[in-house]
């Protein structure tokens, strides 16, 4: 039944997706429109559901590791890192510093790569077609480092439970430093194109405002939460690996609009460069594996471990029954939870803002649907 709205016109119901250029994958949004104004939304998800959590119950701990790479497939390194750490926590294993700093350096590179992909596509959604080519050019350099390290560019499977998949290649440190030097001026370039661009400002300021209370109430994490002004970063709040030993800042926004989230992510890229530089300084010769044994067989128990993935808090809840396969793995994907804020953000805005807001949440459907 269509509700009566302004001028007594009927609502126009538009189906956006799952095949739509701006829904970043196979998200399907059912929009209820009054003219061009959005009066309600409904997200239909599950088009990319592969039952990743169920698969875990039929694989050994190590066998499952490559599957998590396929959740947030544009940030595979951090996915793998979270899973490996969760199992290590269950095992009570210590990870040698060389492996820790390598993991951090790679994870921060991954964060930059993920943010670059977000920045390019977000700008493209808002009609600025040039930034996407610049960001992909820089992302390529990161993927080259991944490729040199483990042979894969996207679904890297970079880590093993207990340490690293491979030891570092000879010029890893040099490549990272070179990338950092090359990349910082490029961020200025993106900002020059967008940050003070009048059209960009008018498209992003006061669009998709999410108050701090709403953000916390809806369980948002990552840049979405920090854009609303809540200084919460798992790397600072519950440091894992060696994040308590490196210096970095947690950028936050004020108004919680699309523009603030844009600024937060851009600042995060700068901070990531800072972390990479420190990590690379501290990578010293040494073992890359902790004592975990050949067969991974954690004691009976359960563990929840979360990390700061590029898109927010990525949590793994792993239950062990003492065998070589997990009894249950539950993933808390940041994209899925952040997507819940979509309706709050989008109500009352125009159709054109829908794509801006989908873009600003930075979802990956592989992770939403798992």
């Amino acid at each position: 039944m269509p509700e009566a709205t302004f001028l007594d016109a009927n609502e126009l119901v538009i189906n956006m997706g799952p095949q739509h250029p701006a829904t970043h994958g196979v998200l399907r949004v059912i929009l209820k429109l009054d003219g061009e104004k959005v009066v309600g939304t409904e997200c239909v998800i599950g088009y990319l559901h592969r039952g990743v959590e169920k698969i875990a119950e039929n694989r050994t701990y190590q066998q499952f590791a490559p599957y998590v790479d396929r959740m947030d497939y544009v940030a595979a390194v951090t996915n793998g890192m979270g899973y490996c750490e969760a199992v290590e926590k269950l095992l009570g294993a210590e990870i040698p510093p060389r492996a820790q700093y390598t993991r951090m350096a790679l994870a921060e590179l991954q964060r930059i790569a993920s943010h670059l992909l977000w920045l390019g596509t977000h700008a493209l959604d808002l009609g600025a077609m040039t930034p996407v080519f610049y960001t992909f050019r820089e992302r390529e350099e990161i993927l080259k480092i991944f490729e040199s390290y483990c042979g894969a560019r996207l679904t890297t499977h970079a880590f093993r439970i207990g340490g690293l998949q491979y030891d570092l290649y000879d010029n890893f440190e040099r490549d990272c430093r070179k990338f950092c030097d090359y990349f910082l001026p490029k961020i200025d370039e993106y900002e020059e194109l967008l940050t003070t661009n009048r059209i960009w400002l008018s498209r992003t300021k006061n669009v998709g405002v999410l108050s701090a209370e709403d953000a916390v109430g809806l369980g948002s994490t990552g840049p979405v939460l920090r854009g609303s002004g809540v200084r919460w970063d798992v790397r600072k709040a519950q440091p894992y690996e060696a994040y308590d030993k490196v210096e970095f800042e947690v950028p936050t926004g004020e108004r919680g609009d699309t523009y603030d989230r844009y600024l937060v992510r851009v600042q995060e890229m700068r901070q990531s460069v800072r972390i990479i530089r420190q990590c690379v300084e501290r990578i010293e010769p040494g073992p890359i594996f902790g004592k975990v044994g050949k067969v991974i067989k954690p004691p009976v128990g359960e563990v929840y471990h979360s990390i700061e993935a590029p898109k927010g808090e990525l949590g793994y809840f792993v239950v062990s029954d003492g065998t070589v396969t997990p009894y249950r793995v539950r993933v808390r994907p940041p994209s899925f939870v952040n997507l819940q804020a979509f309706d709050t953000m989008v109500r009352g805005h125009l159709v054109a803002d829908v794509v801006a807001i989908i873009g600003t949440i930075d979802i990956v459907l592989g992770e939403v649907d798992r």
């Binding site: 009609g127 077609m129 040039t130 498209r203």
Partner: protein, 384 residues
């Protein structure tokens, strides 16, 4: 004679529009750290022909539930409106199809008809996205046409004529391009022109990321190509109008400054410069066939440049060269905007149009009228 001129204009215009697409893809590509079309022909030079052929051969789909007659008619309206207007553009003092004493009015009138193509196309598709796209464009085009129209009236007041030829001649007499007399009018017209041609940052009707392809979502094959043709023809059209009305049409820069007469050799320099550039491309090319082609083309351009230096020829091509050069600058700017700006939102677009451009244009009009009235009442409003 007129028939031959019409044929020439039509042929050149079609070719120009086809290669404008190529130019756009190339320029955008170079702005975006990539190469653009490179496969079909040397440096992708045959790409427009390949694209055109492909579109011709595609199936012409009419969606079920569409209003067939209107659906088939709509793109034709757009193209017709875009092409007809070129009849009154003076390309040079020695080359124009016709000069009517209501030239500018004719241009505004006929180019406004193009919007029917968009509205009817969107409506007759019987689909949500095209309908929304068509609604957007109708609102957009109508509001920006008002601004553009008012901005042009300022020029009318100064020139005291609606004839395009007379407007250019007037600029020749005063030795001052209208852009210097009417900077505000030009600015308003420029913005409105970009909006009227549905180009970035005002390309809402076809906002790919929101409405898939706007009003022409349901179109395919050659009917789609017609819309495309109309859009690019309109780009050329507004560039032509801007050049004629504000940038002295066929006049060379500083036409009345004697010691700058060497600028008359612009066509020669342009052709030889292009020839040298093409030779350089040929020198760099790896493929033997490509190298041969570019060298031939480069030499041909240089020879042509030398031939043009012969005084009678030089005088003959003078007007058309400067007109084309200025027009190309405008077209380049169109592409440049697209590479730089994000897209306006629908309501913001309306804001810019109604709350900024139209008041600005009105203020400019009133100021112009007042100044004319007080300075020279006989040339201005008084003489009617």
């Amino acid at each position: 004679m007129a028939t031959i001129r019409i044929l020439i204009v039509f042929a050149v215009l079609s070719g120009l529009v086809a290669y404008l697409v190529y130019l756009e893809r190339k320029v955008l590509a170079f702005m975006q750290a990539r190469l653009g079309p490179m496969r079909v022909g040397p440096w992708g030079l045959l790409q427009p022909i390949a694209d055109g052929l492909k579109l011709l051969l595609k199936e012409d789909i009419v969606p079920s539930g569409a209003d067939k007659a209107l659906f088939l008619l709509a793109p034709v309206i757009s193209v017709l409106a875009a092409f007809t207007v070129f009849a009154v553009i003076p390309y040079a003092n020695n080359f124009l199809i016709t000069d009517v004493n209501i030239g500018l009015l004719l241009i505004l009138g006929i180019s406004s008809l193009g919007i029917y193509g968009i509205i009817l196309g969107g409506w007759s598709s019987n689909s949500h996205y095209p309908l929304l796209g068509a609604l957007r464009s109708s609102a957009q085009l109508v509001s920006y046409e008002v601004a553009a129209g008012i901005a042009l009236v300022g020029v009318l007041l100064i020139s005291n004529s609606l004839s395009m030829v007379h407007i250019v001649e007037r600029q020749q007499q005063t030795g001052l391009w209208n852009v210097f007399v009417q900077p505000v009018g030009f600015f308003v017209y420029l913005v409105a022109a970009v909006a009227e041609t549905n180009r970035a940052p005002f390309d809402l009707p076809e906002a790919e990321s929101e409405l898939t392809a706007g009003f022409h979502t349901e179109y395919s094959g050659f009917r789609f190509a017609l819309y495309f043709l109309a859009e690019y023809t309109n780009m050329v059209l507004v560039s032509c109008i801007a050049v004629t009305l504000f940038f002295g049409g066929w006049l060379r820069p500083f036409a009345s400054v004697r010691w700058l007469d060497f600028l008359n050799y612009g066509p020669v320099a342009g052709l030889i410069g292009a020839g040298i550039f093409v030779l350089w491309l040929g020198w760099k090319a790896r493929d033997t066939g490509e190298r041969g082609f570019f060298k031939f083309l480069g030499v041909a351009l240089i020879v042509l440049g030398v031939l043009v230096a012969y005084p009678p020829v030089l005088a003959a091509v003078q007007g058309i060269f400067w007109f084309t050069a200025k027009m190309l600058l405008f077209l380049y700017a169109f592409i440049w905007y697209r590479g730089t700006f994000p897209r306006y939102r629908y309501d913001q677009l309306m804001n810019v149009g109604w709350r900024w451009l139209i008041p600005l244009a009105l203020a400019n009009l009133i100021a112009t009228a007042l100044v004319l009235y007080f300075i020279s009442p006989h040339a201005g409003l008084g003489s009617g």
